[in-house]
Structure formats: structure tokens, C-alpha cells
Symmetry: C2
Subunit: 692 residues, 2 copies
């Protein structure tokens, strides 16, 4: 580490002025850029600034040096097209004839694995001077990672687009940096996966964990057992051609594609076509609810393993990745308990409980995977004394299981802390570390921790909303898995996240652009101002409370206000920062006071304007109590601001009344939380505090 | 026609209040809805309102009666999903068990053509009462058209979602209602075509004219002549599997897919792989510029026709439509003039000029098409005394050629007037009629006019921007081609167009949602307010002036302000309406005065705020003079409003100075026009007029 990242930012000012772009609007360009002006995410291992700037003009060109192949050239062309789009400049897609005339020289040693691999060398270095940029990497995948950094460095000022002088040496902290997308609960068409693969590459993620089967859908074509996809998917599955296309797309971006076939539980959809595989007599129907369900493969019959040998063999040939994920989670074994044959089998074999029976199952599956040349990975439930040492543990309940697995000599990856479907803010995922402070692992044991994966479980996402559940938060997780462990400044993370977020749009991601679409449909109108104000201040309820509060099936439309609202409200975060500023300015209470007052007025007006909108749009009926809460909260807030302005403490009675209103406003409605309530609470408490 | 459509709308008020949704916010629901509240587009042949309303609840269900097949059931399921999304209600996708319990009964007589055909009966009737909706159609395609009408009738009020009581009998005025998409100049991936097919179905268009070859790209896989697509497309072409997928998608929506292979001109991309087909020696390169180019197939050699027999035969098997479009436009024959062999051939055969030579070529091509069971259609240049009577004329220069063709007994379709790439407003396309008033055709001749096609020529559209060039304006053209000729109220068209436009978003169309994406990329920031204000007041220059003013190649990025800005500025239209209102309120000049003043202030502030934005975003440099014009125009406007308020006429000198400023502001910059200038000009002239 040559530099420090604890760049001190005037966060509050930045937030209040709504500045996202960190480049100063005016004034001369500093000879050396400041680290706090760079919009890199994930932050490289080392960054050193140096004098100079490299102009991007219509003469821009790239030369390759050393090894070059089609994959490298394709990535250079794609980067050039993105650069052209961003700078509104026509750039030649032809490689430069000579190294000396090129703006960027990409120097590669070798191709690396043709199939992206866990052992790939992804390191690169990038040096930018007045004259030229030079990207050096061992492998083509390393060069790809550097090309993304190159693009993130592009800035603009009155003199034009440029890259600041910089010297970067970079490599990932963890080799396994993944995103799971569950297309079992809700199918996502190939173009959704493609744009997310583009986004993954942009933030240097390298494993697409394709959760292909669930109780609610079997989503991959099997030529051997066609009733799997034909009867288990409502017709919404990927053909093998499409699978190959997605794998090729990922490969071109240096991303592994690891399939998951979740067994023995989570397997209702398998049993629709093949009820004879189940542990209870059929028939079975595709599951439409969310939750944990009883159907499970019968681990006692040879027929099952013959079937799995056929099916997993077919999939092993289709998916080139070294690993195959067998799921193994949340099988409660209720069907097993009730099946006399299974019980007899357990007795006969001396299998003492369902966990042991599943271990038995896993051992058979492992043999099948080994036969087909695959390494096994499964959710942490598969951990069992009989589990062979080359299986990989996927932790979803917490880093403890990862540490336990490591102690026993298993490799593992972490997803606990990276469950983006729980709707927690990026800051919370950001602090989850696969090797947390104070972990009791030895140096040897930590080597077993290979990385982690964000998990996009699919209960409540449609092609229209899924991007907004994945991005931009997953970029913060990507940074956690790539960057040095001491890159932990949350304010700076959010500053960079905002920039990266709108850069992702150039790749077709829809997390921003679909937000007003959902609101317009709800309002049945182009004029969504007040609704947008409300939606910006609410977040879907956390964890899995949405399903309890607002039950739906997998066939329900995902077009409600809870679907339009997004995690990690930026407006609430900015408001909280202003309130902190105001309260830190005691006893004057002047800082941001008028901004806060203006916010309350906008909320108040929105609360009022929402009423007639809701009249016209019955789909918004459920938002009516939220509109009232917004009106109440803003009224309370305005009074608090008045007390703070006058210098007279508010009466205790007033405070208690307001706090009880806030308690009411804090209760979720329509599976949404008004997330500005805690900040308003602080104002009310401060307003009633005796002044010195 | 049982009712009249000249519903008198309080247009100005509607515009000024920014009401798009026409349902009243308050007050009791009238027993009978008013025609002016329906958001149908295209307007049906006859609409009769009747008492009652049919509630849409979670009990909604559909039954079929009479003929039903998979295509009908698929369309019912898709309609139900859209209805569920729009009403935020979980609806069952299963058909109702009994007709009596169904909310909607779909009664079909027969399947109709399995391949969509020009002769398809698309008529339907739809009756909605308190109890039930009943859709009756001869064919499944007719039922599809009715299902779209059904969805457009959905409204909401405080009592919930419902459909008004109505009795509709509907059939198209013209049988051929198309949209041409040119993917030769810029390739559009399959998902772009699919979402546009969805939109076409929503407005009852029934021909997707797939312009597959151009000088700039050969976009369809040929297994017989693979160098066509491999060398002629930069790798951006449709595989035959993809073509079949698109055709199946269109068929499911009752849309014909007619391919165009533009010959003998517009064929540079063919010659890259097969230079021996050209009229001049090669080699050839894919064309990167816009315009008319010399390369043309050599019509004198047997080899050419052998090749075309092979290629068009392959395509005839791939595309099931009865028609094949052979282009034939804009061949200036310069290569022919310079080729001694061709000249000798013409002499020998007595072919007097290039037009006659092309007619000779067309006759040979016609034989090939006939051999492969296809009817020929070509651009109007193919009209020639030797042209067989069963060829179809596609008019692009004006309805005169259509009339001329009809007189000679040819069938024809119109595209003149529907060139949406010229960036004219919807109102202009709306008045273009294939059978214009005062046409001199006999009744018999008019039967030869089969309809028309909007043409999305692809010089300046990317997957990101193309929807905004097609929609919503094409919905107005769709209405012209479907609805009775006396449906001509432009104000009512715009009212309905606004509603249809945001309904198209539910199908994935991006004409609205990508607008801020382009602005954010340009500004390199989420904070685009002032830029959005400017962009909303400008339109790309009309006709083909963009290329002259701002030359680019087909490899240039389409990410500039000219790409973000859209045709038919709604803001300018609303502003013009307010100015009309103010001027009609002479001598008080009070109506909308404060709205107009507020608009000017917003423009003035935007003009000022743009300066620092442009500093940070070099891609916006070209917008600097527009920002200045906006500031000038708003200053002039504010002064004019002041004069009008005070009752004192402005001095002539002031007026002349302001008008000269407006002359400057009216000049296009960055290939953009500030389209509010004419309205401001009216204010200035009025301000200087002597008061009575």
C-alpha cells in the first residue's frame, strides 16, 4: 500500500450541494489530481498519483504489445466504444499501427485460461502520463480488469476529457467474487443476465452463480429429461443454446459461470415431470408461494442416482466451469420422516438422522460430480464429518460456519452479509468481511476463505425491477471482495458508488431508468412529482417481512409502490447528513436549517398532492397511510425547526405528542418504511432539550 | 359511424394543468362515461357508450367460447398479465371454468391464417356491461386487436379499476399497416425488435417491414452465401434461428414479417464478400457514411440471377410472408454508366436508359420471386411500363405515385408522409392520408391503395435511442391507417397519444426512460435539471440536415444532445398553447400570464446553470450557444410579458432588437432547433402592437 485511502471529504457539503461529480466546476486543474477525485470502484490495491494528464481526443487509439488474441481485441473494441459514447467522440475501432502513436498500450504476457478459472491471474498495472497510458497484465483477464479501471479514470473539464496521471498496481484480495442470480422464483430473460454480466465485469466480479432450479421453476433445458423444463418452468427456461450464449458472453468478460442445481430440497419443480424422484407420492405442481417446502428427492433409491448421473452429466458437459453447486440448503426432511421405506433404509444403514441422510446423499452426488470432472460446492448445511475435503462450503448463515469449515480444512465462500434481497443499505454489506476482525483463524486457515458472493434471491424481482435490487449496492460488495481490507471509508464509498451507478447505465442497466416507469404506471400519468417524493423517502421492509406484510404469489405482478421503491434511500441518507450538520451546529442550529425546512415543505406538499393522485390510481390505495405519515412527519419537523430557530425549548408535552406520531409513522405500511423518521426524531428531541 | 369524434376538449386548460390522465380527480363517476374520456388509439370504427361499468378485481377471469387455440390462449394470458401489472392485482392466468362466471368472454369463430396475411379478417366487436365484457371476432387476430382495445379501456377511480360501459364495432380502414425498421445502417438486437413488435401490436399495426440489407450492413445469415453476412456486417447480423424467433414472436401478435433485400442499389455490403456481383471491379468495403452510393449489382450477367435465385430462394424459405420487398430505390446507375460491358448489353438489347435497365433487372427478379412463391414489392422507382401487374408499388416520394400506380392497376402502399426519421411532429404525419382529400382516383382505383408504413430509417438511431424516434409518433400513424378517415382531431390525438405513450412503457419500450439516461451520461451526473429543461425545448433539425450540420459516420456514438433530444417537443407544444391562450385574452393578457412568466424564469435559470455543467462535461460544449439562446429568449420573453402586463405597447425599436435576437436563436446549433422561438416571437410582436 503506497497511499492511504482515508481521504477526508467534506461529506456534508457534498451531500447538501447534491454534487455527485467530484471534479470542481471551476478553477484551474491541479497539476496533480487528488485521490478524493478519483471515482474508482473497486479501489485498486495501490494508487499513486503523478503529474500530468492524458487527453482523450478523436485521435485516441490503442496498441497491443506482446500477446494478443480475439478476446483481448474484442475487449479493447468494447472499451473504445464505451469511451466514444461517454465522450461523444468518434473513435476509430482499429488498433494503432505503432505502439508509439497509441494513446493506450495494452501489454499482455499470455492468454490465461480460455475458460475463466479460479486460479486466473487478474493482476494488472496501469501507468498514465501526459504522453501515454500503459496497461500491463499477465493475462487477458488481467488486462480486462485494467481496461475497466482505465474507463473509470476518465474525467472532463473545460479543456476536454482526460485521464489524470496515475500509477496503479492492482490485484484482487479474493479470487472468488460472485453474484448469484436466482431465476428459479422469477425467470429473467437472457438480456437481463447479459446486462448484469456487463455490470459485473465493470466492478471486477468474476463468478456468475446461476441458481437454475427452485421449487418455483426448473429453468434449463435437459435433452435427456425434457419433462424437467417442459413441465417445471411454465415455458420459461433457457435453451442449451441460450446457456452456451450466456457462457460465451461471460467468458468474453472473464467471468466464470457456475450452475446450481439445488437438491435434495428446493426441488418441487423437478418432481412435476418426474414425481417418481420424490420422497412422497405425486402428483406435484409448480410451487407458487415463497418459503421452504417439503418436497425432496428420495436419497434411498438407486434410480435417483442413475437419474442424477444422467442429468448432472448432461449439465457437466454444458457448463465448462470446474465447480458445480448442488445447493443442499433448507431441506427439513419432512417427506423423509413420513416415508416408511426411507425410515427403513436409515435403520438398515445406521443413518441416525436426516442430516446424516443428506450427507449420505451428498456423498453419492459427489461421486457423480467427480465422475463428470466437477468439484462440488454446496450451502453450509452440507458440512458433515463424512464430507470429503475437496468439497467447498458456501456460508449463508454467517462467517462462523466459514471459519469452522476452514478449521476442518474445507475451502469456503461467504454470502452471509451479502444477501442483497434483504434490502439493507450498501454500508451494511460493505462492512461484512469474509475474514472479519478478530476472527480466530490461523494464517493457514484463512487461505481456505476464497471470497464471497452477493445473492439476488428471486422471490420479488421482475425483469423490470431486478437491476434496482442488485445495483448499485453490489458494487460496494465487489469492492469488499477485491480491494485491500483497509478500504473502509463509508462516506467515500457512497461518493464513488453514485458515480459508478450512473456509469452502469451505459451498459443498459435499468436500476435508475425503470424507477420513474414504475411510478408512471402506478400514477397512470406522466406527472409523478409527489409520488416520486414519497417513493424516494421509503424503503421496502427488511429481511423477509415483505411476504408477511403483503402476501403475494410468484404469479403476482411486481408493479406496486414496494417494487418501485428502492433499497438504501439516497434522499434519506442526504437528509440524515443535513440533520447531523444542523445538530452539530448547536446552539445556533443554522447549518442546513433552510435546506431542511425546504425539504419538509416539499414533503408536506407531496403528502397533500398525493390524495387526488391516489383517487385516480387504485393501485396506490395502499400508499394512503404513508402519504398521511409523510404529512405528519413534515408538520412535526417544521415545528421542530421553528423551535430550534427561536432558541426556546419546545414543551415536553409537545415532544411526547410528536414522538408518538413518529412512532406511528415508523410502522411499516404497504411493506414500506418511511426511513427519514429517525432523523426527524432527532430534531424533535433536540428541539425540546433545554438550551444552555 | 354511430358517434362523432369531434369531442370538444378544453385543450388549453388540459395543457396548462399538465393533466394527462383524463379521468376527473374528484366528483361522482358519471353514469355514462364521456367519449372524451376514452384513451383509445387507434380509435375504433364505431364506439357507443352505454351505462354501467365493469369492475376489475382479483376475481377477474376470461373464458373462451367457440374456437380457441394456443395463440388465442397465449394472447389472453399476456393481456391478463399486463392487466395485473397495471392494476397491481394478482390475477389468475387460468381460463374461467364457465362462461357465465367470466369477466371477459372471448368468442372466436375460427383461427384465421396461421401465417399472418394481408387478407386476414381483423374485425371484432366488444360490448361491456356491468356484468361482463364480450369480445366477438371472426379470427384469432381479430380477437387480439379487441384485447388491445379492452386493455386501453381500463380506467381507475376511488372505487377501483374498471372499464366503462361501451359497445364497439371495429375493423381497419386499410389492410396494410406497417413499420419499417432499417437495421442496415445501425444493427438493432432482437430484443429491440421484440419490444417494438409488442408496441406495434398495442396500436394494431400488422406489418413489420424488416429492411435487412443496406450499403452499411448485410444483416441476415445466409447459409448458401455466408460471406454476405460474415464480411458484410461487422458480425452484427441475425442468425436464421433468430429470424425464426422474431417471426414467431410477430406471428403470435398477428403481425406479418416482410423482409427487404434492397437491390440493385444500396448493395455495397453484398459486394464486400462477393465483389463479382458488382458493376465495377472490387474490392468493396462496408460503407460508413450516410447517403446514396454508387455500388450496384450488375444486371447484365446471368451469374447475378443465379446468385439471386439461390439467395432469394433461401430467404423465401426462411420468411413465410407472401411478399418480398426488393427495394429498388435510389440507384443512380453511375457504375452502370461507366461499365462498357453493361453499355454494350443495353445497346444490344435495345434498353434505352438506366431506368429501363433496372426494369429489365426487376423482371428477372420477379421471375425468381414467382418461382419461389413470393409476390414482389418495391419502392416506387420500380414502376415502369414493363412491370407486371401483380407487383406492388411502395410510394416514398408522395401519394401521386400511388395514384399513378393505382390508375395503371397496381396495388400500392404509402410511406411518403410517414418518414418518422425526418423528425416532424406527430400532427404532421397524422394528416398524411393514403387517400388524400381531392384525390382524383375512381372508387375502383382506391381499392389498389392497401395502406402504408412508417419508416424508421437507421442512420442516426442506436438501441438506446431508436424507440424515441419511433414512439409515440408512430401510434398516430397507426391511427391514420386503422381508424375512419374523419378521425382527425389533432388536439384529441395528442391527448390520447400521451396516455398510450406511457402505456407502451409496460411493454419495455424505452422512449421515455432512456431520455434521462442520455442526459445523465452527457452531464456525468445525476443532477440534470437545467440540461433537461434545455433538452425539452429543442428538437433535432428536420429532414436530413443533421448529417450536414454535424457529420458523423455509422461508427460514431449516438450519445450527444441531438440524440437525447426528441421529436415533437411536448413542452414546446404546451408553451405554444399557453401563448395562444394569453394572446386570445387581449387586451387583458392575463390568461396563463403567470405560467408563461414562470416558464421564462425556469428557462433563464437553466441557461445560467448550464454554464458550469458544460465546464465539467466537454461532450456538452456544442450546447453552449443553445444555452445562450435560451437565456436570450427568456429575457426577451420576460420583457414582452412585462409590456403586455402594463398595457403600454413596447417601442418598435425594442421589438426589432428582440426579433433579431430571436432570428439568431432560431438558427440551429449542434443540429438542434430551439422550437419555442415562434411562440416567443408572437409575444414580442403582440407586445409592440398599439393597444386599443
Amino acid at each position: 500500500m503506497k497511499t492511504t485511502y482515508s481521504v477526508k471529504l467534506v461529506l456534508l457539503l457534498t451531500l447538501a450541494l447534491n454534487i455527485v461529480s467530484p471534479v470542481p466546476a471551476q478553477g484551474p486543474t491541479p497539476a496533480v489530481a487528488e485521490l478524493g477525485q478519483l471515482n474508482l470502484m473497486p479501489m485498486p490495491a495501490t494508487v499513486e498519483l503523478q503529474p500530468g494528464r492524458l487527453a482523450i481526443t478523436d485521435k485516441f487509439s490503442v496498441a497491443t504489445k506482446g500477446y494478443a488474441d480475439d478476446r483481448l481485441r474484442t475487449n479493447i473494441a468494447r472499451m473504445t466504444r464505451r469511451l466514444a459514447g461517454r465522450t461523444v467522440t468518434t473513435l476509430s475501432l482499429d488498433l494503432a499501427a505503432a505502439e508509439s502513436s497509441a494513446t493506450l498500450v495494452v501489454q499482455c504476457e499470455r492468454g490465461g485460461s480460455s475458460i475463466p478459472s479460479l486460479n486466473e491471474d487478474e493482476s494488472y498495472s496501469l501507468e498514465i502520463t501526459d504522453q501515454q497510458a500503459r496497461l500491463v497484465a499477465s493475462t487477458v483477464v488481467g488486462a480486462m480488469r485494467g481496461l475497466e479501471t482505465f474507463l473509470q479514470l476518465v474525467q472532463g473539464d473545460r479543456e476536454g476529457y482526460y485521464l489524470p496521471g496515475v500509477r496503479i498496481h492492482d490485484q484482487p484480495r479474493f479470487a472468488w467474487r460472485g453474484l448469484l442470480i436466482d431465476i428459479g422464483r422469477h425467470y429473467q430473460p437472457p438480456e437481463v443476465l447479459k446486462r448484469n454480466l456487463d455490470a459485473m465485469a465493470a466492478v471486477k466480479l468474476n463468478v456468475f452463480h446461476w441458481h437454475l432450479t427452485e421449487d418455483q421453476g426448473f429453468r434449463v433445458e435437459s435433452k435427456k429429461f425434457p419433462k424437467l423444463h417442459l413441465l417445471g418452468s411454465d415455458g420459461l427456461y433457457y435453451t442449451q443454446d441460450q446457456v452456451r450464449e450466456i457462457i460465451a458472453y461471460a467468458t468474453e468478460r472473464g467471468i466464470r459461470v457456475m450452475p446450481e442445481f439445488d437438491i435434495p430440497g428446493h426441488s418441487t419443480s423437478w418432481l412435476v415431470g418426474y414425481p417418481e424422484l420424490g420422497s412422497a407420492p405425486g402428483s406435484y405442481k409448480i410451487e407458487r408461494a415463497a418459503g421452504i417446502f417439503e418436497p425432496a428427492l428420495d436419497p434411498t433409491r438407486d434410480q435417483i442416482y442413475k437419474f442424477l448421473d444422467g442429468f448432472l452429466g448432461e449439465m457437466a458437459a454444458l457448463f465448462p466451469d470446474a465447480y458445480m453447486h448442488i445447493g443442499g440448503d433448507e431441506n427439513e426432511g419432512k417427506q423423509w420422516d413420513r416415508n416408511p421405506q426411507i425410515q427403513a433404509f436409515m435403520k438398515q444403514k445406521g443413518i441416525k438422522d436426516n442430516h446424516a441422510l443428506q450427507a449420505y446423499f451428498n456423498q453419492q452426488v459427489l461421486k457423480i460430480l467427480q465422475k463428470h470432472g466437477k468439484k462440488m460446492i454446496g450451502w453450509e448445511e452440507i458440512l458433515h464429518p463424512d464430507l470429503p475435503r475437496d468439497a467447498v462450503i458456501h456460508s449463508w448463515r454467517g462467517p462462523a460456519s466459514l471459519a469452522e469449515a476452514a478449521k476442518k480444512g474445507y475451502n469456503g465462500i461467504l454470502s452471509a452479509g451479502y444477501y442483497i434481497d434483504l434490502i439493507y443499505p450498501a454500508s451494511q454489506h460493505y462492512v461484512a468481511d469474509p475474514l472479519p476482525d478478530g476472527n480466530a483463524m490461523t494464517a493457514e486457515e484463512t487461505k481456505h476463505v476464497m471470497g464471497g458472493e452477493a445473492t439476488m434471491w428471486g422471490e420479488w424481482v421482475s425483469p423490470e425491477t431486478i437491476d434496482s435490487r442488485i445495483w448499485p449496492r453490489t458494487a460496494a460488495i465487489a469492492e469488499r471482495l477485491w480491494s485491500p481490507r483497509n478500504v473502509t471509508d463509508i462516506a467515500d464509498m457512497y461518493r464513488r458508488l453514485a458515480v459508478i451507478s450512473h456509469q452502469l447505465e451505459e451498459l443498459g442497466l435499468t436500476h435508475e431508468r425503470n424507477y420513474p416507469v414504475l411510478l408512471r404506471r402506478l400514477a397512470n400519468s406522466d406527472h409523478i412529482g409527489p409520488l416520486r417524493t414519497l417513493a424516494s423517502l421509503v424503503e421496502p421492509v427488511k429481511e423477509y417481512r415483505r411476504y408477511q406484510m403483503r402476501p403475494q404469489t410468484m404469479l403476482s405482478p411486481l408493479t406496486g409502490l414496494v417494487d418501485a421503491a428502492r433499497p438504501d434511500s439516497e434522499a434519506a441518507r442526504q437528509f440524515a447528513a443535513m440533520v447531523e450538520g444542523l445538530l452539530s451546529d448547536a446552539p445556533r442550529f443554522q447549518l442546513y436549517r433552510s435546506d431542511i425546512r425546504d425539504s419538509f415543505k416539499i414533503w408536506r406538499d407531496a403528502g397533500i398532492a398525493l390524495d387526488p393522485m391516489i383517487e385516480r390510481a387504485p393501485g396506490l390505495q395502499e400508499a394512503r397511510p404513508l402519504a398521511k405519515n409523510l404529512a405528519d412527519v413534515s408538520a412535526a419537523g417544521l415545528e421542530a425547526i421553528n423551535y430550534l430557530s427561536t432558541g426556546t425549548a419546545a414543551p415536553t408535552q409537545w415532544r411526547d405528542l410528536q414522538l408518538s406520531k413518529l412512532d406511528e409513522a415508523a410502522k411499516p405500511k404497504a411493506a414500506l418504511e418511511l426511513v427519514v423518521v429517525p432523523s426527524v426524531r432527532k430534531l424533535i428531541i433536540a428541539a425540546a432539550e433545554p438550551r444552555k
